[in-house]
């Protein structure tokens, strides 16, 4: 980059300027700029919730106040923590399995039209069947342990992974593939060096959907039959008309979903910096 600085034609300086990472202060300012609106909206929602509870517009056994909900969380941190961990564990294992199986199926489907024609209708069928309806069956088959919950999480998170990966693998620039042919590239070389990396941005958009669905899958599994996990906590609270605990469970569950989603986004930024850079409006002048 040094020699580029010595020849400051407009194109060159622009190229260099874009290579520099913004400083920490600048990045914090960016983050604040991006997040104050949703945070403000969240605050307004909390305010409304507090107002409804404080004025007792709705009976407090139906909608507990934010304070009561927070009290429950702070009161029984061990209890919630233990059950949250079970749900998180089921979600993560389910998600990882869904990603692994999803990627492999997508690659096989793109590699062979026979596989695609055989697998695609079955995938679609598996997606159309309501997972909540199969959940009891899994419990009958696999018992009350974590296995049926993981399986439901896999089943529900798997579809967006396959679809996004197939789309990504097929969206490769045809000219790039022709170029690869003139380079005498073998199919596996073209796959490893061109098709697979090119499909990753698509895959990641599927992963973001999949990770939030995996949480739903795990909780649905817990609803049907479990003695631990947030789904169990919510059912128990429901049975006892313990709405503060119910709200606390919901809150923690949403938090897990958000954290996992953000983790996938961070992984995307770390693994595909070139993609993030391309979306940066500064680069599209």
């Amino acid at each position: 980059m040094k020699s580029a600085l010595s020849t400051p034609t407009p194109a060159r300086t622009a190229g260099v300027a874009l290579r520099q990472r913004p400083g920490l202060g600048r990045r914090t300012a960016d983050l604040a700029e991006k997040s104050w609106r949703p945070l403000a909206l969240l605050l307004v929602c909390f305010g409304a919730w507090w107002l409804i509870a404080a004025t007792e517009t709705v009976e407090s056994y139906l909608v507990p106040s934010p304070g009561a909900t927070l009290d429950v969380i702070l009161d029984k941190p061990g209890y919630l923590w233990q059950h949250s961990w079970v749900t998180t564990y089921e979600t993560l294992i389910g998600f990882v399995l869904a990603v692994a199986v999803g990627i492999v199926s997508a690659v096989l489907m793109v590699a062979s039209t026979t596989v695609e024609k055989t697998l695609y209708p079955i995938l679609l069928f598996a997606q159309v069947v309501p997972k909540i309806a199969i959940a009891p069956l899994f419990v009958v088959w696999l018992g009350f342990g974590v296995t049926p919950k993981i399986l439901i999480a896999v089943l529900i998170a798997f579809f967006p992974v396959v679809i996004s990966m197939v789309t990504g693998l097929k969206a490769v620039d045809p000219e790039m593939l022709q170029l690869s042919a003139t380079m005498g590239a073998r199919p596996w070389q073209t796959f490893l060096k061109i098709r697979f990396p090119a499909s990753l941005p698509h895959l990641f958009s599927g992963l973001k959907v999949a990770v939030t669905l995996a949480v739903t899958g795990a909780v649905v599994g817990e609803f049907v039959g479990a003695d631990e996990g947030l789904g169990y906590v919510i059912l128990q609270a429901n049975g006892n008309l313990d709405t503060p605990m119910l709200f606390a469970g919901l809150l923690v569950m949403s938090l897990i979903g958000v954290v996992l989603f953000v983790l996938v986004e961070i992984a995307e930024k770390l693994l595909l910096p070139w993609h993030a850079g391309r979306r940066d409006p500064a680069a599209t002048y």
Binding site: T182, M183, A185, L272, G277
Partner: protein, 279 residues
């Protein structure tokens, strides 16, 4: 042909590979026709095209949109099979994708996740050219195309002209005897395009590669090429081959002002006009 004498005067090392005048042409297109079958009807993209291109020669192909110029390049590269007729590359019949060519498209078609240098080196990785030799060659090309200082930049950080230079380096890395260019500068602004034309002329002289350039610009064709192939609208056929008759080394302004250039562009324009009048 007067330009042949000029070519042999060139001192670039690449010129050594030019075989004796009577040798096989670098590219021979022999009575080639291409027909596509769509659901509704049969389309003839090319009808009976024959063309010989000597080693080290620069040939430009101009013609209205859809006349099969790009199809012709794909035939030479072996990316497309002719319905009838033969394409020969270095005297050998083209049967599938050919490795002994370099290809440049209108869009640079770079890999977003690779720096300029690693995009250029993709060619070496696919061909298993030893790393040391490939890197030395890449450095040489980076210098030749004026990419120094941009080796580590990513495609989205480069201007269109710079991206096209990277694509050109990639196409030249394995020192192909034939370079195929499909409207490589079509997406660039006029000034960058002129600059790229001047550089392509120099690179052609330095490498001694045979070049086939498909273009929409009459000026670009006449400035760069030894011969300009003018094609008729679909179904494409060669209307006439115009000899430009300029030496290989061409200063831009002087060339554009020369009577040979003006005669050539005048003739090409006349041919294209006559051709489109049939529509």
């Amino acid at each position: 042909m007067p330009e042949d004498a000029a070519l042999k005067d060139g001192t670039a090392p690449g010129r050594d590979v030019v075989p004796a005048p009577a040798a096989v042409p670098a590219v021979r297109v022999d009575g080639v026709a291409v027909r596509f079958r769509t659901k509704k009807k049969d389309v003839t993209a090319l009808r009976e095209v024959s063309l010989d291109i000597a080693a080290g020669e620069f040939v430009a192909i101009v013609g209205p949109s859809g006349c099969g110029k790009s199809t012709l390049l794909k035939l030479v590269a072996g990316l497309l099979a002719p319905s009838s007729g033969d394409v020969l590359l270095g005297g050998e019949r083209v049967r599938g994708p050919r490795r002994d060519i370099g290809y440049v498209f209108q869009r640079a078609a770079l890999l977003d996740w690779r720096s300029a240098r690693r995009n250029i080196l993709l060619q070496a990785e696919m061909r298993k050219i030893p790393g040391e030799r490939a890197r030395a060659r890449a450095d040489e090309l980076i210098r030749m195309t004026g990419l120094d200082g941009f080796e580590d930049a990513y495609p989205h950080e480069l201007s269109g002209g710079m991206q096209q230079r990277v694509a050109l380096c990639r196409a030249l890395l394995h020192e192909p005897p034939v370079l195929l260019m499909d409207e490589p500068f079509g997406a660039l602004d006029a000034l960058t395009r002129e600059q790229m034309n001047v550089e392509l002329n120099r690179i052609w002289r330095e490498t001694g590669t045979t070049v086939i350039l498909v273009t929409h610009s009459i000026a670009e064709a006449a400035y760069l090429a030894d011969r300009v192939v003018v094609m008729s609208p679909r179904p494409g056929a060669v209307t006439e081959i115009v000899d430009v008759g300029l030496p290989a080394e061409r200063a831009y302004a002087a060339t554009l002002a020369s009577p040979e250039f003006r005669a050539a562009t005048g003739r090409i324009r006349e041919l294209l006009g006559a051709v489109s009048a049939h529509d």
